[in-house]
Amino acid sequence: MSKIIGIDLGTSNSAAAYMEAGKPKMIPSAEGTTIVGGKAFPSYVAFTKEDQRLVGEPARRQAMANPEGTIFGAKRKMGTDYKYNIFNKEYTPQQISAFILQKIKKDAEMYLGDKIEKAVITVPAYFNDSQRQATKDAGKIAGLEVIRLVNEPTAASLAYGLDKIKEKDQQVLVFDFGAGTLDVTIMNFGQGVFEVRSTSGDTQLGGTDMDEVLVNYITDEFKQKEGVDVGSDKMAIQRIKEAAENAKIELSSTLETEINIPFVTATSEGPKHMLLKITRAKLEELVKPIVEKCRSSIEQALGDAKLQPTDIEKIILVGGPTRMPMVQKFIEDIFGQKIERGVDPMECVSMGAAIQAAILSGEEEVKDVLLLDVIPLTLGIETLGNVMTPLIERNTTIPTSKSQVFSTAAENQPSVEIHVLQGERSMAKDNRTLGRFMLDGIPPAPRGIPQVEVSFEIDANGILTVTAKDKATNKSQNITIKDSSALKEEEIEKMKKEAEKFATEDRKQKELVDLRNQADMIIHTSEKALKDAGDKISKDDKHAVEKKIKDLKHVKDKDDVDAIKKAIDELSSEIQKIGSAMYGQQAESPPPGESQGPQAGPQPSGEKESKEDKKDKDEPIEGEFEEEK
């Protein structure tokens, strides 16, 4: 079944979204830029004299050169008898909107690699029947079956998940401040239905006005300071516009920024530079008159709905300009409460449309059944040196499974104990024990040779099964733990907090243990090398190694990390001398019957089998079980 997409067919900008794995995602506009680029595109349609049709960015780019062939804001004419006459051809507003929808359809098909036949399109809450019908017709012309028209404020509310509130009726205010229009809508949400109580707005007010006052301010300041009017210098204006746009964005997160444009223009006296500090306070002072203009629309909407500001329970902001802290504060001051946050105000309408599409196509129900859980805490086993070795990291979505191969820590070790742990701490003892079991009957072999595969499997209900299998004999044991997620919320929080609190300490201790394991390993290898070498090496060399082994043994169980490191390095270089003398290129003596890989150093002794755990590879996991005593 092909996807149903959600479309925000806006006056100034349009965008589209679709549902994936229960979450709305934006469909990027093709536009010749990259995926890193914009998602929305300007609602421009243009015809060139050569009868070429342009939609979106390209249409906007040529607007100035071809004003008679360029149409902008066709949405304002929807549902009227108005006809655009372009180079002696007539177009209805529906047709123009259809060109925009066609582009969206094409972009979506390319991006999703699937045919798109159905869509949910948003319309302003105040649209009347003929305007709505015109929008549906536009969809039809574009080859899209419009399965539902949704009010823009309703779509925005869906994106914020307001439809999930079940307790009681809510009064919702949606403040949609776009590039060129302001729409204020008050809705009542109850029993799963959004009902529009009042709408109000200003069709000639928006973010573009804000950009304009800022650019004007900058050029005025420059004129005052330098006595030069850059108004006619197109290059200067272009650079100032870009700098102003950046400054505006920056001032949403900082309190002061700088407009720095060297060589902005030139006079007969020579070049002129622009260096101007702009504070957030200054910007706010400049745009204040524009923001204040919104007040009357809000008051009117409240009045029409017969509500007081305090009656509003949820406030949703839509549109780029609402990202400005000043606009947010303006609204919060009027209503004496916080706005809803967490969804991009420029994306929420199309996202809401996509959610509506999913509800209509039944995807939503399926999602409810298939609500996937995550494991709250990391699961792992205890390995050599009382270390907790994680197998499944916390926040992994279940069901899932993972396996890893471990080996033994001692010569001829007959059995291993699997100690299943839960928690975020580095040392086994600091975590919660979920269970233990033994796998015995491992054939006698040197340490590091046996391969024991440990698999963790969690089903959708959170039931954990841990299996250990000796790959040589295929003998296996397992344990099933039902309460792996039975911890209470507070306990989980407590364990996470502790992990954070002890993070540094734990890391140090882990480092020490890793080092000790490394020391054990190298002592073992060195002793074996000496034995294998027999009398092929000189007594002096042998003594030198033996001395270094003794030194390392002496420091390894103490807590001095640097001393252990030093002793390891010294022994390692000593044994390498012997190694290279004896075996040529082979630096260390590989144990018989096995490739050099896992045993050559303190690297993970088992190959990892799960696809997902590539990132683990950098961490030194001492993949050996503690010897059973």
């Binding site: 994936e20 794995a21 010749g32 830029t33 990259t34 995926i35 890193v36 243009a46 342009l54 960015e57 390209p58 249409a59 906007r60 780019r61 040529q62 607007a63 100035m64 050169a65 071809n66 690699g113 197109k234 290059m235 272009q238 650079r239 870009e242 700098a243 444009i261 060297p262 060589f263 902005v264 030139a266 020579g270 070049p271 995807e363 399926v366 059944v369 298939l370």
Partner: protein, 158 residues
């Protein structure tokens, strides 16, 4: 078993069948979503790597604009000096770096205006002899990265 019981069970079976089908569909969809996402991620990854520096370059371009402007306004009395030559060389260095990132300038003056690459910010004076829609002045240089426009050229056309 009475007819009533059979009917009841039949109903139950149908219900369960429907449910099973619904679950299977959901499962299939989830799996398909995953496979599709994997494919998408591969594509996106390749794009990301290719265009990883795009944002950085975009922020560097205004600096290059300023440098270009400075070189367009070299005072006459020092025009031939070694120092000026050195600064001009910095510009070449800069442009070489951009080339190395797969970035090239968009051609403008003399070309026919194309909204894929160019943005009109003004029309030339009437009466000029050249053809319509031909770019007569470049106001801001545009750039392509791996054959995709990262900044349109701002131009004046006839």
């Amino acid at each position: 078993m009475t007819d009533k019981e059979i009917k009841k069970l039949q109903k139950k079976i149908n219900q369960l069948k429907k449910q099973a089908e619904e679950y299977l569909n959901g499962w299939k969809r989830a799996k398909a979503d995953y496979i599709n996402r994997e494919r998408e991620i591969e594509k996106e990854k390749a794009e990301w790597i290719k265009f990883a520096n795009k944002d950085l370059v975009l922020q560097l371009l205004p600096v290059l604009d300023s440098l270009n402007q400075s070189l367009d306004h070299i005072p006459k009395d020092i025009g031939e000096s070694e120092w000026v030559k050195g600064v001009a060389q910095i510009k070449i260095q800069f442009e070489k770096f951009l080339q190395g990132q797969g970035i090239e300038k968009i051609k403008t003056v003399g070309e026919i205006f194309n909204p894929e690459y160019h943005e009109v910010i003004g029309k030339g004076e009437a009466g000029e002899k050249s053809k319509e829609n031909v770019i007569v002045q470049e106001v801001q240089t545009g750039y392509m990265m791996h054959n995709k426009v990262i900044r349109t050229a701002k131009v004046i056309i006839n």
